[in-house]
Subunit: 411 residues, 2 copies
Amino acid sequence: MNPIITSLLDMDFYKFTMGQFAFLRYPKIRVKYAFKNRTKGIRLARAIDLEAIREQLNHVRTLRPTKSELHYLRGTNEYQDRMFVEPYLEFFANLQMSDFQLYADKEGNIVLEFEGNWSEVIYWETLALSIINELYFQSLMKNASRFQKETLFSEGKIRLARKISLLKQHPLITFTDFGTRRRFSRDWQRYVVEVLAEEMPGQFIGTSNTKLAMDFGLLPMGTSAHELDMVMSGVMHGSDDEIRESHQKMLREWWDLYGQGLSIALTDTYGTDFFFRDFTVDQARQWKGLRQDSGDPIAFGEKAIEYYKGKWANPKEKLLIFSDGLDTETIIKIFKHFHDRIKVSFGWGTNLTNDLRLIALSLVVKVTESNGHGTVKLSDNLAKAMGRPEDVERFKRIFGYTGAEYTECKV
Amino acid sequence: MNPIITSLLDMDFYKFTMGQFAFLRYPKIRVKYAFKNRTKGIRLARAIDLEAIREQLNHVRTLRPTKSELHYLRGTNEYQDRMFVEPYLEFFANLQMSDFQLYADKEGNIVLEFEGNWSEVIYWETLALSIINELYFQSLMKNASRFQKETLFSEGKIRLARKISLLKQHPLITFTDFGTRRRFSRDWQRYVVEVLAEEMPGQFIGTSNTKLAMDFGLLPMGTSAHELDMVMSGVMHGSDDEIRESHQKMLREWWDLYGQGLSIALTDTYGTDFFFRDFTVDQARQWKGLRQDSGDPIAFGEKAIEYYKGKWANPKEKLLIFSDGLDTETIIKIFKHFHDRIKVSFGWGTNLTNDLRLIALSLVVKVTESNGHGTVKLSDNLAKAMGRPEDVERFKRIFGYTGAEYTECKV
């Protein structure tokens, strides 16, 4: 077995910021995460050997952060001085990654679930996704000759060169690698990140991959994920009002812990319209900006500008981070549309770290239960919605969700 | 200095077959070879540092064949049992490569000349060409970033993959690497040859590069060059008849030395029309075939088929080797046109070993003097003609040359 994950820092940085939040505030909240393949027509359990996944996941459970990795986390001051507190670092240093459930259902889907204390199981998300992606692409290339494999990487390099060349024509565009979860392979993400760091240091401003940030001296980047809202809905679960208020409670607690440093709000858990109704005047002025992760990015940006103007906040001082299914063309289009009206940057995932010639998958690991309750994500694109049907209906009502967009998830 | 040539076998195999011919028959004939750049508009001495060329050439002069390399030559039996005789191997084992003249003329052209006994200076041709080509492409890439260089090789791999994929659709097409003299670099030719050997062993039947043939266990391939005719014209120099007869004399002596094994005749030194007038009925029937190196390949093939029919030789038993500026499309076109009427194969040079994204050069090293007389090559394309104008005019008359084609040399 050739281990895919060889470092516990080979995961998205937001797992640590959210992980510390979970550790400090809700360490014993019971949660369940589940793997989901959003790409239709691919029966993953028939493409990938389940035992190979099991071996890889079990290997992750043998890992512990090294001293240098802990030093790196301790030394992180990009967002807030010594943002990781000593009790958390000690907890993470000794963390035994939780066990998991893995089997194939009758339709050939992979069922993979992680259950336990939020503070402990939170780390599986990107690790599991990196593993399943890499095993899938290994399986596609199983019968390829050495040269056919090289040709694939050559194609990837040509495509990367094209991205660099086009983006250099817009030197004010900045972006971040968000591709750990969807990467073709660990080595390919590393290659892409190293090339970008060398070729366009002024525009490529960081990576969500903590290990790559550490190894190449890049900015470790991350905001937060839907799971914050979703777990909090379980914590506060009860009446409609309690559930609705869980969103605002999460925003306040996140701000209390990290202040301005990590104040990029993810807007679409329950639909962006609700978000803008819920986000207060003070938050509009204090928080650095917003992350767009579903729906129409241009419509979103226009809404955000209107929203800020309505709160007497200057949009030009606010930052929108776009992270939904980007490619070079959409990045340039969004940048051109907004750049003189509001700050924009891009969190580029699948199409950055998995653009060779093979079609990428749309895989996610999402929290499905929190504190004994089913969780819900509505999203601005119903193809990305998650939750039990009855819960989804209730949450739509609670959050006044009226969105109707349904766009198949390509990435 | 990073030596480009690290082995005296890193040259075309025909230098050894012709080298033995020179050694056994005309060891003391004085000849002069000159480098020529046929690509218009490129002032090579301004692109390449002359001292770098000098260093590389001087490094070649320090080389001697290794014991294993001599074993390899001694063991060559693909064309004739023990085709290299012991005195020749001993001569080559101790050969000190001759000195050279190197300077830049006022127009910025490189002047590079080799003068001495034919048996000794014959070896410089492909060595010098490999060196100048590689230094030229190094100079083009001088300011490229590491990734830009990688992108170039990626482009080369994609183009190579396309060649392989197209040629595999015609599994009866066979071809040989003839690209030593025009290669982008030593390492790139090695890469291309290794890939072809792995990916299409049934169609890629050998390489002209003796070292690569040895290292990868491939067939060392080669026929003969214009220099045989050209040197012989000097040996026989005198009346028009004597010069005209030098062509037939060379054919006979070559046959006497190597028999059927190396009986592929190069037809265009003095124009293919003369060749067909000069080549006898016995030769038509005995010799394996012909090599086409200039002019229209389809017209040539048609002429050859007519010629063979006229001599009561069966074209289906004859082999045409095409080697003039081939690419995938021309190979397929020529193959489709002829394959059921006469055997065809291809000696693929520039476009095989130097198809990245940079424009290749048309460089040659040709014999210009033999035995005190100017030599002439007419060719079926006057853009490839060589010789002093007055000599060219005389040779045209002697050989009844009426060709008028002039097509710029791209490769």
